[in-house]
Amino acid sequence: MHPARAWRGRSQRYRLEGEICEGCGARLFPPRDICPECQRPARTPYPLSGRGEVYSYTVVYEPPAGYEEQAPYIVALIKLEEGPLISAMLTDVEPEEVYIGMPVEMVTRVLHRQGERGVIAYGYKFRPVLRRMATMPAQPATVTA
């Protein structure tokens, strides 16, 4: 990924920044500028909480180029508490522990690396909600692979 491209998406990838529609109040992620609910402009930034639950999930055994070292990995659709669905990997959990409806929260991790010298792309993944941290803000931001 070109550094400019990674930089462009920083607000979304690191802060889960979506948008709120001034017209109908819908909260949108990813940002899409035109509200799909009422077709009016929705360009006001709105950071999402990063909390939600698993809507569906799968384990990828045959990864695309650039993701080989992570395979097998879990990708999921997460239903965020503000409404939107979001695609992301699950982390800190084994496949057999995941279930539809599982409460999850956002963490920041390495999404992929491009070889020895390429850009290391960071972004959101989701992990099971840790009970003792359930009342803390949703971005512990422990940056590890």
Partner: protein
């Protein structure tokens, strides 16, 4: 608007064509179709293709194929809409004739996938999804379909094995299709124990990576009889779109663009779902077949798999699907698939489908799906008496 007919079809075998590149495959299908139609001159050529830029570092296929086919100066462009590229090219050819801008048009779908390694093809196919918000998270095409399949099983209470009839039917039909890639039957036991690709999707839910090209020749319907004794009319041609990203849909298990494109096609054809004699649907994965049956109006919500379990999709059922093997067993050379579907439908309507012939087939429907349902193109074809 003028009526449009198909007067010639051609197809290469689907498989691993190590000895042939994009241009050779496209020409083989194009020549076969022109021979079938008895046509020597074309006004325009449309090439449906998805991956040539990524796999072969070759774009500009309109001019490339026209040049290689010796059609100096002819109008030619490539049309791209992910896995729906083939039908998208047909849509353009149809519109050119219906609108009176051309009389003789060839539409070629061509794809070359086997020159790239597995991980590269997986990454290339993922470009049909949202690069910024799906693919970057390691989402593959199989994974997206697996997310749909698991949620479907969760909501409607199906088991993984319940999807077996889709693949069993496709493989059984491919046995008698000399162009099909996987010409062998499979059993329920094989389906149940197949290798996992993205849980719950196994190798036997998924269509194979392959090469192939297919072509059709179109002309105004009122001239068709002069070229072929059994021309086929394009009764309807309809395109609809939805969000590219699966997560942007309010209800991921309802393929809105399938519903819209099928509805528009039925309206245009003046037909209802029960009038359709067979349906070449986009069974890239078993779950796509189920969701397509539901949103197209052939099965109620959550009953697409039940319809397969009841046997309604078999050759002697209420709505035969994948009658020549479908994407699952004929093969899914992505940008060519939409044209293979139409070629096979034409063979059925001409009565040339061999052992797989659907008796008295009059109305056939084809549906080509790009991405997880972001572009859906439905055609309804009719045998001309």
């Amino acid at each position: 608007m003028r009526e449009v007919a198909i007067i010639g079809v051609g197809q290469t075998p689907v498989g691993e064509h190590w000895g042939k590149g994009l241009r050779e495959l496209a020409l083989e299908a194009l020549e076969a179709a022109m021979r079938d139609a008895g046509v020597e001159r074309l006004d325009a050529l449309y090439v449906g293709n998805m991956l040539s830029g990524q796999v072969e570092a070759q774009e500009h296929l309109g001019a490339l194929v026209a040049d290689f086919a010796g059609m100096h100066g002819v109008e030619a462009v490539k049309v791209e809409a992910a896995c729906a590229s083939g039908a998208a090219a047909l849509r353009i050819g149809y519109a050119m004739i219906a609108g009176g801008l051309a009389d003789f048009v060839a539409v070629v779908g061509v794809e070359k996938m086997t020159d790239a390694a597995g991980e590269a093809i997986t990454a290339a196919l993922a470009t049909a999804a949202d690069a910024e918000y799906e693919a970057v998270h390691g989402m593959t095409f199989t994974a997206l379909n697996a997310l749909l399949m698991r949620r479907y099983m969760h909501e409607y209470g199906y088991r993984r094995e319940d999807f077996a009839p889709f693949s069993i039917n496709a493989h059984r039909n491919a046995v008698h299709n000399p162009r099909a890639m996987l010409r062998f039957p499979i059993t329920e036991e094989a389906f149940a124990s197949a290798r996992m690709i993205a849980d719950p999707i196994t190798l036997l839910d998924a269509s194979p990576i392959c090469d192939g090209a297919a072509a059709v020749i179109l002309c105004p319907a009122d001239q068709a009889r002069a070229f072929h004794e059994r021309p086929v009319r394009i009764l309807a041609s309809a395109v609809a779109t939805d969000t590219v990203a699966l997560h942007d849909r309010r209800d991921p298990l309802w393929l809105e663009a399938v519903a819209l494109s099928a509805y528009r096609a039925f309206q245009q054809a003046g037909a209802r779902p029960e009038d359709i004699d067979f349906f070449e649907l986009h069974d890239a994965f078993t779950i796509m077949a189920a969701l397509s049956l539901e949103a197209s109006g052939f099965a109620p919500r959550g009953r697409g798999v039940a319809m397969a379990l009841e046997g309604a999709i078999f050759r002697d059922g209420r709505l035969p699907i994948a009658t020549m093997g479908g994407l699952k067993a004929r093969g899914h050379p992505v940008g060519a698939t939409g044209i293979y579907q139409v070629v096979e439908a034409v063979l059925q309507l001409r009565g040339q489908a061999g052992p797989n012939q659907i008796p008295h087939a009059r109305l056939g429907m084809t549906q080509n799906i790009g991405g997880t349902g972001a572009t859906v193109i439905t055609h309804i074809l009719e045998a001309i008496d």
